[in-house]
């Protein structure tokens, strides 16, 4: 049996997480808790370690000290743990990372058939269901590069959802998109939030943070500077660093 750890009601618990890239310390003593159904938005200047932090949660990056628990299961070198944790986590990337040699439908059914051992027919039905949810069922038989950026990102979201994860991680899902496509992706994410999905979203879309987040986190230089619900985070930031960051970003 895998080790479990009582993390109260947090589905993700991160404590004193540190990570180095060689000599360079990217994350310093990061603590974070995310409860079931909670939406956390992480923002902060470029290079502050936001991507690295969420990539540690599903082990796309390895941390050197500190702990990460997902549903009470600690992320360790143990491949069983890693797989068990990844099963609960979907991830959406800034650059979509769709498989260009597979059709949209094949992109979606690959995980369900190979990992969840679903029958092709069931996987197809599941995939179509999620494509409808992200409003592009008619694109099922196209290849990813035949779609617009916004459509590709929605396919990527659907691909993650096909694994029926409990938690979704988003790493700047809209920053590679043209302005007119940002909204369609954000709308999809809002819908997902409304359905009760636990989400960690790295983004600079402050409108999204204001309306959707339960908690907004500011990272700077590998540390969490400020955490709080959107009202106080935007209305009454406690730290100078937060104020300067918000000034910069809201000016644009």
């Amino acid at each position: 049996m895998l080790d479990t750890h009582d993390t109260n009601d947090a589905v993700i618990k991160i404590s004193s997480l540190c990570k180095w890239f060689g000599q360079f310390k990217v994350l310093t003593d990061v603590d974070l808790e995310v409860r079931k159904g909670e939406r956390v938005v992480i923002c902060g200047p470029s290079g502050s370690g936001k991507s690295t932090l969420i990539r540690c949660i599903n082990r796309l990056e390895e941390h050197q000290s500190g702990h990460i628990w997902v549903n009470g299961l600690e992320m360790t070198d143990n491949i069983k743990n890693i797989e068990a944790i990844r099963r609960n986590i979907g991830m959406v990337f800034q650059s979509f990372n769709l498989f260009p040699h597979l059709t949209v439908l094949e992109n979606l059914t690959l995980g369900p058939t190979l990992v969840r051992q679903m029958k092709k027919k069931d996987a197809d039905a599941l995939a179509m269901q999620f494509l409808e949810k992200v409003c592009i069922p008619e694109q099922a038989h196209k290849y990813p590069l035949q779609l617009s950026g916004g459509q590709q990102q929605r396919v990527a979201i659907a691909r993650s959802l096909c694994m029926e994860p409990e938690i979704m991680l988003f790493d700047e899902p809209t920053s590679a998109l043209d302005p007119e496509m940002i909204k369609e992706v954000l709308d999809t994410m809002i819908e997902l939030a409304d359905s009760g999905m636990t989400m960690i979203v790295v983004t600079h879309e402050m409108g999204f943070a204001r309306t959707v987040a339960n908690n907004v986190v500011l990272m700077a230089d590998g540390q969490i500077v400020e955490t709080g619900p959107p009202e106080s985070f935007f209305g009454n930031p406690q730290h100078e660093r937060t104020r300067t960051f918000l000034d910069q970003i809201l000016k644009h």
Partner: protein, 365 residues
Amino acid sequence: MASPSLANPAPFDPDARMPAVEWMKRNLFKNAFQSVLTIIVSFAIMSLAWLLFRWGVLDAVFVTNDPQVCREAAGACWAVIGVKHRPMLFGLYPYEEHWRLVLMIVVYLATVVISLWPRFWNLRILVPLWIASVTAITVLMFGGVFGLRYVPSNDWGGLPLTIILFTGTVLIGMPVAVLLALGRRSPLPFARGISVIFIECLRGVPLITILFVAVNVFPLFLPQGMEVNKLLRITVGIAIFFACYQAEVIRGGLQAVPRGQYEAAASINLSYWQTTRRIILPQAMRIALPSITNHIVAAMKNTSFVIIIGLFDILTATSAVMQDPLWRRYYIEAYLFIAFIYLFFGYALSRYARQVEKWINIGRI
């Protein structure tokens, strides 16, 4: 990155659809110097073409059994092909059994044509197909069953031998190449070490050395009384050499697959082999396809090395046949014939590779 779907638009070509006269004015007679050059060069080309035409067609002898007729003619002696084509194409294989080789070539070509068709790209079709055709070819070549006379592999030669060596090289070499390329990028230090040593050592020596080892040194390590067919040994030797070069080409393709592909695969929990087989290799092979084809065409020509075990592939068989004092003077015609056969297969191969690239671009495969 080679994207399968968006057809790459052809580069804009201002010469396309231009009337011929306009095109010539622009490209051949732009100024006085260019015009003079054009005239001189076209005169040279035309006289050369005329000479070749006179030699190859007007003054040529096409059919005769008598070398004297050729001697008296001023042009080419294509008749030599008619007289000598059987030993050239089939080497030392017993004369009355040549029909078996013709049948073998037919079986082979049919198998290849079916296999190159994307519609049949399904292991449940291809594996039985190849097992059946390799069995049929083995039976045809060796005989010894069904009342067929036994012909040892030492007597094989010519085109069938070239085909067997070439196909064996690719069928054995490609999987080895893929494994070596993967091994070289493997997270396991052991797999990586083995692959690096293997590739670097074998790439560093000439093919002829590897063949020498396969033929003369390798048997010393076998237990007494055990013997591995010489032809098989040399095929494996050529295949391994081929694999080392091909592995580096495939590695180039692997390196060109963006890191995000691995991450996306990891995020949906695919295992290493699932990721490799379904995500990474298909993309890497598409990217590396032009260079892969290049090495395959080159492999076709390496088959001539079997001469070192006394076997005669199509090229060396022809050299041997052309020792005949009566016909010796017409070696140019004979070699042109062989060159044409090489060209046929080589050209077919590169055309096919072009077609595959096209299919990739329109997302059909």
